[in-house]
């Protein structure tokens, strides 16, 4: 103590005060501790009481994964149960691009274990471009058992690659039904948008495929079924730990068609090397029994994304196999238009059946000479003869007498120029010319001279083979018209309940029975003693038909069409419409053979084979080219 007083520079420290100061500071620090712990408590209270529900939801979302169970797609069979589209289960090798750094290198590696062709690679590259990266995409389909075993042994080398069992769509009939049944394909972003708009996206969770064309597309809702849901508990790595709940998927409905696979095949073979279309309809129901557009293509190529090379071949082929000629191709009807013209003439009172005209080999109108097919003309021609020999002059005159608007009003009733609303999409409307049509289309008035060639199915006339088939079916059925439909009924595979498509007639055309009888009698005459007689010689049933030839390129005034001088693709199309048996029609058909020349020669024999097969069960003999010019129309 004394030292301290001697040394005044050193302040005397009061140890009690010192401790007091320290304890104040310690108290402040303790207060800080309590405050911070209180903050923690507030935070816990906020998380665990105030936001408890929110975080519970998040935890559940972490834990529970909703896995869709894709329903199996309905199958498609013909009227006799022949499979046209079915499913089979197979193993695929799939890559999830997001989990892989270098996809190309991985595929190189994989190729040492499982065979991967250049085609597979191209297809896969295209799939990557079109899809989201977190999806697993197939690099190889239909693995063999050996390949599965080899991959399984090497699996550790390939993270992000897995083998999955999947249902595949298969079209056992190949190109035979490519234009009717259509095909499915991987869902593209545009289709996802459409599904979202319709609110169907939930039902398509997990579904990779959707109908693209044909029945696969138009009956998509029936075929797809209802997606099931499985709730699984997953860990942070996405691995399923256990199943919590499950609702089974409901398989899609099956389609049973009116089509007859046997008939379809007969038609397909009858066409031989020719391109063209044929539609065969049961006039009593509108059911479509054969629907052919040739050439077709193998729809199986499209199921998993077509590879670019095949796509290029199909797309750039001069034969245009992707075009559905029966549905979307439009052609001048040629002389097959004449029966309806005759019926119009009777209905409008412009001709009596026995009324004759003199055919000098053509018709002069306004300084233009409309040639008849036969040089020198057919002489005296009444209505019956006009159809049987297919006299052009008779119909030039008739068209002139009827006028374009009468023609178009009458023809409209038979469905010319309007869609049939068949149960596949992509249908063309065709052109039924009228004054209004020309004004709307070209902003020009109709010239009377343009009516003349309309009378023989040329001019602006342009219809689909389907429309021609519907018209002749309606005529065969005495004016009672059915909407053509390919599907007979939709079958629920669980309840076996059948939903029949289109059982009622669409409309009945008001036609006088005696007029119908006159025209139908003449059509029987065509196949008995006229342009169709050669093709139907010796048939044990009575058939009715009308040949037709449609010009592809216009022939100059005063020049004669000589087939051998015209390039193959510019040759005339051959047409034939027919039904049989004549008294109680069971089948009505329209045949179009592209660039085949006269209808009598190329189209009528195909029709004969169709009727022989359908009515008699007779397998056709190969078509012999008929070079005789006598049967021209």
């Amino acid at each position: 103590m004394s030292e301290l007083t001697i040394n005044p520079g050193v302040e005397l420290r009061n140890s009690r005060l010192e401790i007091y100061h320290f304890r104040v500071r310690l108290a402040i620090a303790s207060g800080f501790v309590l405050f911070m712990f209180f903050l923690l408590f507030v935070r816990f209270f906020y998380l665990q009481v105030v936001k408890h529900d929110y975080y519970t939801t998040l935890a559940e979302a972490n834990r529970i994964s909703i896995v869709p169970i894709v329903p199996s797609r309905g199958i498609i069979v013909d009227r006799n149960g022949v499979l046209l589209a079915n499913n089979y289960s197979a193993y695929t090798l799939e890559i999830t691009p997001r989990k892989v750094e270098d996809v190309e290198a991985l595929i190189d590696d994989l190729a040492t274990v499982v065979e991967i062709t250049a085609k597979d690679r191209r297809r896969f590259r295209k799939l990557i471009e079109e899809s989201k990266s977190f999806e697993s995409l197939p690099i190889r389909n239909r693995l063999s058992d050996e390949e599965i075993a080899r991959f399984a042994a090497n699996r550790y080398r390939f993270p992000g690659v897995e083998i999955n069992a999947r249902l595949f769509r298969q079209y056992p009939q190949g190109e035979l039904f490519s234009h009717v049944v259509g095909h499915i394909g991987r869902i593209n972003p545009h289709e996802i948008e459409q599904l979202e708009e319709k609110g169907l996206d939930a039902n398509y969770r997990g579904t990779d495929y959707i109908g693209k064309v044909g029945l696969e597309q138009s009956y998509e809702t029936n075929l797809h079924g209802t997606t099931g849901v499985e709730e699984v508990e997953v860990d942070a790595g996405g691995r399923a730990v256990r199943t919590l709940s499950r609702s089974a998927p409901v398989s899609g409905n099956n389609l049973v068609l009116n089509l007859d696979a046997g008939l379809q095949e007969v038609v397909y073979r009858a066409f031989g090397e020719y391109r063209g279309a044929l539609v065969a309809i049961d006039p009593n129901t509108g059911g479509v029994l054969a629907f052919v557009s040739k050439p077709g293509f193998d729809p199986n190529l499209f199921v998993d994304g077509i590879d670019p090379q095949n796509w290029k071949e199909l797309n750039e082929s001069i034969d245009r196999p992707m075009v559905n000629r029966a549905l979307a191709g439009t052609y001048p009807p040629g002389s097959t238009f004449k029966p309806y013209m005759a019926l119009a003439a009777l209905t409008y009172g412009k001709r009596r059946p026995e009324q004759t005209i003199s055919d000098p080999g053509g018709f002069n109108f306004g300084g233009h000479f409309f040639r008849d097919d036969k040089v020198g003309g057919h002489g005296m021609v009444d209505m019956y003869k006009s159809l049987v020999v297919s006299c052009d002059t008779y119909y030039y005159m008739l068209a002139n007498d009827l006028g374009i608007d009468n023609i178009s009003t009458f023809m409209q009733q038979f469905g010319f120029g309007s869609r049939t609303d068949i149960d596949i999409t992509g249908e063309s409307r065709g052109i039924l010319p009228s004054q209004k049509w020309k004004m709307d289309r070209f902003r020009q008035k109709w010239y009377a001279g343009e009516t003349i060639s309309v009378g023989i199915g040329q001019g602006y006339n342009s219809y689909t083979p389907l429309q021609l088939a519907q018209a002749i079916a309606t005529l065969a059925n005495d004016g009672v018209m059915y909407k053509p439909h390919i599907v007979n009924y939709v079958e629920d595979i669980v309840t076996r309940k059948r939903t029949v498509v289109e059982p009622q007639p669409a409309r009945t055309i008001d036609l006088k029975p005696e007029y119908l009888a006159i025209v139908k009698n003449a059509l029987v005459g065509v196949n008995k003693e006229g342009t169709g007689a050669r093709a139907f010689a010796g048939a044990p049933y009575v058939s009715a038909g009308k040949t037709g030839t449609a010009q592809v390129v216009a022939i100059k005034q005063g020049e004669k069409y000589v087939e051998s001088r015209v390039a193959e693709r510019h040759r005339d199309h051959a047409l034939f419409i027919a039904y049989a048996p004549a008294d109680k029609p069971k089948l009505a058909i329209a045949v179009l053979v592209e660039n085949a020349g006269f209808g009598a020669r190329a189209a009528a024999p195909i029709a004969r084979q169709v009727f022989d097969y359908y009515l008699l069960g007779k397998q056709p003999t190969p078509v012999k080219p008929d070079d005789d010019e006598a049967g021209r129309d």
């Binding site: 303790s30 712990f37 923690l40 408590f41 975080y55 935890a59 559940e60 972490n62």
Partner: protein, 364 residues
């Protein structure tokens, strides 16, 4: 006779502290069992850690505080030298140079500094107790900044912050003037942009993630998001032991170590959390009482630093798991799995017991 031996053996054991820390260790074992998916090896290994840590605690509880004063300076100098060695020859693990290989094993000198720095500062203030002036505070700050600077460079921001906190507690308790504290506070705020510029990308990322974890839900924010979900979904009573979905489906990372609180909180809920806060407060409260009654400035400062550092560990860890602090590698004291942190904490608590029970001997 036996009672007398027992009394001698347990003379330096603080019962309240012991009960509280054993309870916390028990909570730890229960939670580790759940977090490790009922791994018995994990439990036995942690039991071994606990036994070692308790042994060390017992040993240090019996060491009179003035022995510690003797080793303060050498320990500090050794620590700084080791840190310099780390900077020069250290092994890089996970991108940070924290480990030093010394013949048989690797050590992490920054762990040593958690004790050595507050010890050094307490010793320093005690030495100049009679003549404390501003100059001494400046020296103390320098003593603090040197090791922290070395640790920041490793980089190990979490440890640096904890040691800074320990040093700051000593400075505060040693009576650093309020004006300077205020000035330092303002200065620190002013330095923020500068510090930000010096930070490593991953450190900035952690801070940004704290502000908005959802901006990077699969990356840096993932841990925080998942642990917050675990805490929140625990609710008032929790999902039950072994029933936490976030825990058992692997959504929580580091379930037995740094994020063990998420497991505990998910399974035992708000009630569990309150129990845990109370147990921590028991330890801290007892530490405060020991501190308040400590006989010398050295023991006061050191006991205070140990107590407040213990609090800081607990607060930072729980704050990090519940999403109010950035993710730093700080275990939950006495609860998290791991020998190193257990030993360090128990060593500190042993010293606390020693300070609490040796005062009479010093005073006489």
């Amino acid at each position: 006779m036996i009672r007398r031996i027992t009394r001698i053996l347990t003379a330096h054991i603080d019962n309240q502290l012991l009960v509280a820390l054993l309870l916390l260790m028990g909570v730890g074992l229960v939670t580790i069992f759940s977090g490790s998916n009922q791994s018995v090896p994990r439990i036995s290994s942690q039991v071994a850690n606990i036994l070692v840590a308790l042994g060390i605690m017992y040993a240090f509880a019996n060491v009179p505080p003035h022995y510690l004063m003797r080793i303060a300076l050498p320990l500090y100098v050794l620590g700084v030298l080791l840190l310099v060695c780390v900077a020069l020859f250290g092994d890089i693990v996970n991108g940070a140079r924290r480990w030093l290989y010394i013949g048989v094993t690797r050590i992490q000198p920054s762990e040593l500094m958690k004790i050595a720095v507050p010890l050094m500062l307490a010793w320093y203030f005690d030495r100049y107790e009679a003549t404390l002036k501003l100059k001494n505070y400046i020296v103390a700050v320098v003593l603090l900044i040197v090791p922290i600077g070395l640790i920041v460079r490793q980089p190990d921001l979490g440890t640096a912050l904890l040691i800074s906190a320990a040093g700051a507690y000593v400075l505060f308790l040693a009576g650093l003037s309020w004006r300077i504290i205020l000035g330092l506070g303002i200065g620190a705020a002013a330095c923020m942009p500068f510090v930000w510029g010096m930070m490593h990308d991953y450190q900035r990322q952690r801070i940004l993630t704290l502000i908005d974890p959802t901006q990077d839900p699969l990356g840096a924010g993932y841990h925080t998001i998942q642990s917050t979900i675990a805490v929140g979904s625990g609710g008032i009573v929790g999902k039950g032991w072994l029933q936490g979905t976030q825990t058992h489906l692997d959504f929580i990372p580091e379930r037995t170590t740094d994020f063990i609180f998420a497991v505990f909180s998910e399974e035992f809920g708000l009630f569990g959390n309150m129990l845990l806060l109370v147990l921590f407060l028991l330890v801290i409260g007892r530490g405060v009482v020991i501190t308040a009654n400590a006989p010398t400035l050295f023991t006061r400062l050191f006991a205070g630093a140990i107590t407040l550092t213990f609090f800081t560990y607990a607060f930072v860890n729980m704050g990090m798991v519940s999403g109010i602090l950035p993710v730093v590698g700080v275990p939950l004291p006495l609860v998290s799995y791991g020998g190193t942190s257990l030993v360090t904490i128990c060593l500190g608590l042993g010293i606390l017991m020693s300070i609490g029970t040796h005062k009479k001997l010093v005073q006489t």
